[in-house]
Structures are given as structure tokens and as C-alpha cells.
């Protein structure tokens, strides 16, 4: 089954015209309230040790046979991956292996790139996000994203965090104040900026800007947080803070993180998926994948023989 994601379409509800007959679900993503309270905290930090344990966990995102094309070039080949709820899944692999492309499939950011095409299904809970009539605006409120290079808007710190709720229609100042404060506390930035919420976000340091972008992503009340090498442009101290933050956030959110840094994947993630040349070579519990990888390519990559 081919599902076309056209660049002109992302903002128009139900404008996709791909032939899809399988999905009969009548409930749409848009039936969700615009801003949802964070989900309840679950089992604090207990790391699943085995593949069997990981497989038993409820899946927040399930990708099945995902192929991705930039024009004629196929960038992803039949990716199958389940992302367990309230855990951190790390995507590793050499540059150009498709891990960022896969990440950007999960909130349909690739829709914005002209001439791209997705095949297969990606379920968020039990809804196919590439089904026609999916509202990408609602999808992206539930699947937040933090980018490699921090990209705060040239607005105040407050307005950066309030942006998501504002475009979702939150107008009341008290509600916005509450969201901004809560998200800045969650992203461990509040104490550093609480006295200057009305100053420009561009005056913050790189590490602070990245945590602001995390706060901004949390403000729409997402279930899933996608992080595309969130610490690659940061110094070691800021990196450590972001990693601590990921550890905290996984109790509330489901996190998928792309990283070049294998130590980082080992430190923060519960599950690791190794991509190579558009294929998912191996996925499993992080400790297993790093200590006894099943595939030779994985072993060579994590021991530094290539990549």
C-alpha cells in the first residue's frame, strides 16, 4: 500500500489523495483536546534488561515496513520498529544512514520536503499517522520535536514557550503562565531564567537555548518527544544537563533520540536501534546491543571499526 505525503499537503486537513482502503477508523487525531496534561508517571527508571521484557512493554509508536523515498532515491528500506511507551529509544548509525529521516517520519516533518514519499504504516497508539485525513497539525502537537541546532524564535523566552499553546488556541494569560512555568521547570531552565522571561531568547547560551527548545516542545502537551541529536552542538556540561533531563522526562513522555554519540545512547536509552544505509540492522535493549550485538555490522560500528 502506498501512502503519498505531498509537500503541498501538510497543512490542509484531509487533502491527501492516496488510495488507502485498509484504515477504517472513524476517530481522528483531531478529536484530541489541543493541550493535554502530561501522562501519569509510570515505574520510575526500572530498566528492562532483556529483549523479551522490551517486547512486552506497550508500544507508543509502531513502524511497520516503512520505506521512504527522496524522489527516486530510497532512503529507508522496510523499517520495523516498536517504540515502548515511557522509555527512551536511541537511533544510532553513521551519517546518512536514515536515522534522522526515520525520526522525521514520526511527526511527518518530511512532508515539508518536496518530492518525498512514504510507504508502510506508522501507528501512534493505534492510529496510522499516514492515513488520509490525518491532521498533521494535531499530530505534531502530540509528537513534539527538538532539533539538532537549537532554533528559538527571535521572541522573548516566555513567548517561545507559549507559542505552541497559543497556536493551539490558548488565550488565557493565567493558563499560559502556568504552562510556561511548568515546562521551564520540567526542562530544568526555570531557575536560570525566571527573572528574565521577557528578555530575548537569543541572549541565552547554547545549552540554555536547547533546553528552552525542549520546554517549547513540552508546552503543547505531547506524548512523544523526538530529539534529533539534541546535544551534538553543546559543550560537555550542557550535554550532561540535557541527558539528565532526558532521564527525567521519560517518566512522562516517550522519547526517541537520534545520536551520533554511542556513549550517549548507552547512557540515556533503554532501547537502541542501529541503522545502516537505510536499513534497520538491529534493535534491542541498549545494554544487550552494546554488550552482545547479534549482527556483525553492529559490532563493528559500536567498537569503532567504521562509521
Amino acid at each position: 500500500m502506498a501512502i503519498t505525503a505531498r509537500t503541498t499537503a501538510p497543512l490542509m486537513r484531509g487533502s491527501e489523495s492516496a488510495p488507502v482502503g485498509r484504515d477504517q477508523m472513524s476517530e481522528t487525531l483531531s478529536s484530541q483536546p489541543p493541550v493535554r496534561p502530561p501522562a501519569m508517571r509510570t515505574e520510575a527508571g526500572a530498566k528492562p534488561r532483556t529483549a523479551a521484557e522490551i517486547n512486552k512493554l506497550p508500544k507508543k509508536v509502531t513502524a511497520t515496513d516503512v520505506n521512504f523515498f527522496y524522489g527516486e532515491h530510497q532512503a529507508l528500506h522496510g523499517i520495523n520498529l516498536g517504540v515502548p511507551e515511557h522509555h527512551v529509544t536511541a537511533l544510532i548509525g553513521p551519517s546518512g544512514c536514515g536515522k534522522s529521516t526515520f525520526l522525521r517520519c514520526l511527526n511527518r516533518m518530511n512532508d515539508m520536503i518536496e518530492g518525498t514519499r512514504v510507504e508502510g504504516t506508522i501507528l501512534l497508539d493505534d492510529q496510522d499517522i499516514y492515513r488520509p485525513r490525518t491532521d498533521v497539525v494535531e499530530l505534531r502537537k502530540r509528537v513534539g520535536m527538538v532539533f539538532q541546532k537549537s532554533n528559538p524564535f527571535p521572541k522573548t523566552i516566555y513567548e517561545n514557550v507559549a507559542y505552541g499553546p497559543r497556536v493551539a488556541g490558548v488565550r488565557k494569560r493565567e493558563v499560559l503562565n502556568e504552562i510556561v512555568e511548568k515546562c521551564l521547570i520540567q526542562s530544568a531552565l526555570f531557575d536560570e531564567v525566571k527573572d528574565r522571561l521577557d528578555t530575548s531568547a537569543l541572549q541565552l547560551s547554547g545549552g540554555q537555548q536547547q533546553r528552552l527548545c525542549i520546554a517549547r516542545a513540552l508546552a503543547t502537551g505531547p506524548d512523544v518527544l523526538l530529539m534529533d541529536e539534541p546535544a551534538s552542538a553543546l559543550d560537555p556540561k550542557s550535554t550532561a544537563r540535557v541527558e539528565d533531563l532526558i532521564f527525567e522526562l521519560k517518566h512522562t513522555y516517550t522519547i526517541v533520540i537520534v545520536t551520533h554519540n554511542m556513549q550517549q545512547a548507552a547512557r540515556v536509552s533503554d532501547q537502541t536501534a542501529f541503522f545502516y544505509e537505510g536499513h534497520l540492522v538491529e534493535a534491542g535493549p541498549t545494554n544487550e546491543l552494546f554488550t552482545k550485538p547479534k549482527e556483525k555490522q553492529t559490532e563493528e560500528y559500536i567498537t569503532g571499526r567504521f562509521g
Binding site: G144, N151, G164
Partner: protein, 307 residues
């Protein structure tokens, strides 16, 4: 070794000077100096004629007088009516061109598909290339009769008439400068906003346009400076009646049109009437220079923000 002993030491002094290098240097210096010298020369001429003028007509009368009648006896040299004429025409042109130009720029930068953009931009170049005298007679032959059908009380030569054509003339400038600054807003900002569940309208109006605002303002100022300096079309279309009016349907005279009138007339050099065009020219020069400098300052600040 015998070889080194018999080779004479290498001559480091060139046999002759590399004269071509010096010639090129000199030629290029002359080129650069020519434009600087021209500017200095023009300012010098303006001043050399204006200073004797201001010996006969006081600065106070010139800048506060409300009557411009150089041919009357006694002659009146109050520049305010000419400034009114210029402001009315340039302001009217801005009112017409700014919304139209900004709208077009936003469309081209954010909404248009590449084929549309590639088709529209050459058309704008053509519009920018139409000689202003053509705009002038279009105003006189087509627009003025049309206006008088709608507003029977309008003078045949009137400010609105001129505003419309000057507005069309500055439109390509506003569009191309504004589109440049809109497109220079980093893609990462747009992606950041889309990832928060913003619609295209949210992203455009809430992020891209505010981020580019200073550059957009600068494009407006440069276009207004151009409108103020525009001569041919307003001389033909706006009339030759210096008067203090804000009614766009009245015949007015702009500063530029006055200069044309006197230059073409038979005022003898050395008379106050003849010298007055230099005083008006100097005033015009200072006005447009101030707008240009201000616009460049804004643009510079905008560039610093993203680099």
C-alpha cells in the same frame, strides 16, 4: 659541489617593474574615485547655489512659510506646500504599494510553488524596467479620466493619479527586497514552528514575518525614498499647483516637479528663483538620504541577528 659553485646567485630584483600591475591599480582607483567625486561635486553644487539663496531668503521663511510663489511680487519661498505635495504623492503611493507588495512578497516566499515563483519574478523585473515617463502618460491618458468618472470633482492633474502610478513603480522594489528578507529567515525557525503544530498561517504571520520585520520595514523606507525622488511621472500626472492640501483629488506640485518646471523655464541663472531649485534639491537630497541611511541601519541590525 661544482654545480653550486658555478651558478650565479639568483637575482631577486625584477628586471623591470611589473608596470601592468600599477596601471590596473591606478585605473581601478580612478573608477572608484569617479563616483565619490561625483557625489562630492553634486553636494558642492547644491551648497554653492543654496547658500546665496539662503542669504536672500531666510531659513525660517523657507522651512516654515506656507506659500510657494516664486513668480509673485514679492516672491514667497515657503517650502511647506511642496513638501505637502511630495508627501501626499509618496504617502499615497506607499499606502497602495505596501499592502500589495508585502502580500505579494509573502505569497512568493511562503506559498508559491517554485514554478510560480520562477514565472512571476521575471514579470516583476519587466515592471521594474518600464520607463517612468511611460507611467506618467499612462496616468494622464488612462487613470486620470477614470478617476474623474468616479470622482467628478477631481482635478484633471491630481495627487491620487500620481500616487497610483508611483505606487506601481515602487511595487517591484518592495516585493523583491521583502521577499529576500522573508526567504533569509532560517528554515530551522519554520521547522521549529511547524513541529509545534503551527499551521502555515501561524508560521508565516507569527514567526517568519516578525523575524523579518526589520528588513521589511527597511524595504518600505527605501521604496518611499524612491517615491519621494520620483520625478517624471509626478511631473506629468500630479499637476503644477503648489498648495497645502491633504485632498488627493487636488492638483499639487511636488518638490521634484517644481525643479523640472524651473529648469525648463526661462529663469535666469543667479536669480533667487533659479537658485531656489538648488535649495529644494538640497532639501530633497537630505530627506531621501536620511531615509536611506535609516533603512540601511535597520537592515544591518537584521543581518547581525542571524549571523
Amino acid at each position: 659541489m661544482a654545480l653550486t659553485a658555478t651558478t650565479p646567485p639568483m637575482e631577486l630584483t625584477a628586471p623591470r617593474r611589473r608596470w601592468l600591475e600599477s596601471v590596473i591599480h591606478a585605473v581601478l582607483l580612478v573608477c572608484a574615485a569617479a563616483s565619490v567625486a561625483t557625489t562630492v561635486g553634486i553636494v558642492a553644487v547644491l551648497l554653492s547655489q543654496s547658500i546665496p539663496f539662503f542669504r536672500e531668503v531666510s531659513l525660517v521663511e523657507f522651512f516654515t512659510g506656507t506659500e510657494w510663489a516664486p513668480l509673485f511680487s514679492p516672491a514667497r519661498y515657503g517650502i511647506i506646500p511642496l513638501v505637502f505635495g511630495t508627501t501626499l504623492v509618496a504617502g499615497g503611493a506607499a499606502v497602495i504599494a505596501i499592502p500589495l507588495g508585502l502580500g505579494t512578497a509573502i505569497y512568493l516566499s511562503e506559498y508559491a510553488t517554485p514554478p510560480v515563483r520562477h514565472a512571476v519574478k521575471p514579470l516583476l523585473e519587466i515592471l521594474a524596467g518600464i520607463p517612468s515617463v511611460v507611467f506618467g502618460y499612462v496616468a494622464v491618458v488612462f487613470i486620470s479620466p477614470l478617476l474623474r468618472k468616479v470622482f467628478p470633482s477631481a482635478d484633471y492633474f491630481n495627487a491620487l493619479n500620481a500616487s497610483i502610478v508611483v505606487g506601481v513603480m515602487i511595487l517591484p522594489m518592495i516585493i523583491s527586497l521583502s521577499e529576500d528578507v522573508l526567504r533569509s529567515v532560517p528554515r530551522s525557525l519554520r521547522e521549529g514552528a511547524f513541529a509545534l503544530g503551527a499551521t502555515k498561517l501561524d508560521v508565516t504571520m507569527g514567526v517568519v514575518v516578525p523575524a523579518a520585520l526589520s528588513g521589511i520595514m527597511a524595504s518600505f523606507l527605501l521604496a518611499i525614498a524612491r517615491a519621494i525622488g520620483e520625478t517624471m511621472a509626478v511631473t506629468l500626472a500630479a499637476g503644477a499647483t503648489p498648495q497645502m492640501t491633504l485632498n488627493p483629488l487636488k492638483s499639487v506640485q511636488t518638490m521634484t516637479a517644481y525643479i523640472v518646471e524651473v529648469s525648463q523655464g526661462d529663469a535666469a541663472a543667479g536669480t533667487p528663483e533659479h537658485r531656489s531649485i538648488f535649495a529644494v534639491g538640497l532639501t530633497l537630497f537630505v530627506m531621501t538620504l536620511a531615509l536611506n541611511v535609516f533603512a540601511q541601519m535597520i537592515l544591518k541590525r537584521m543581518r547581525e541577528k542571524y549571523e
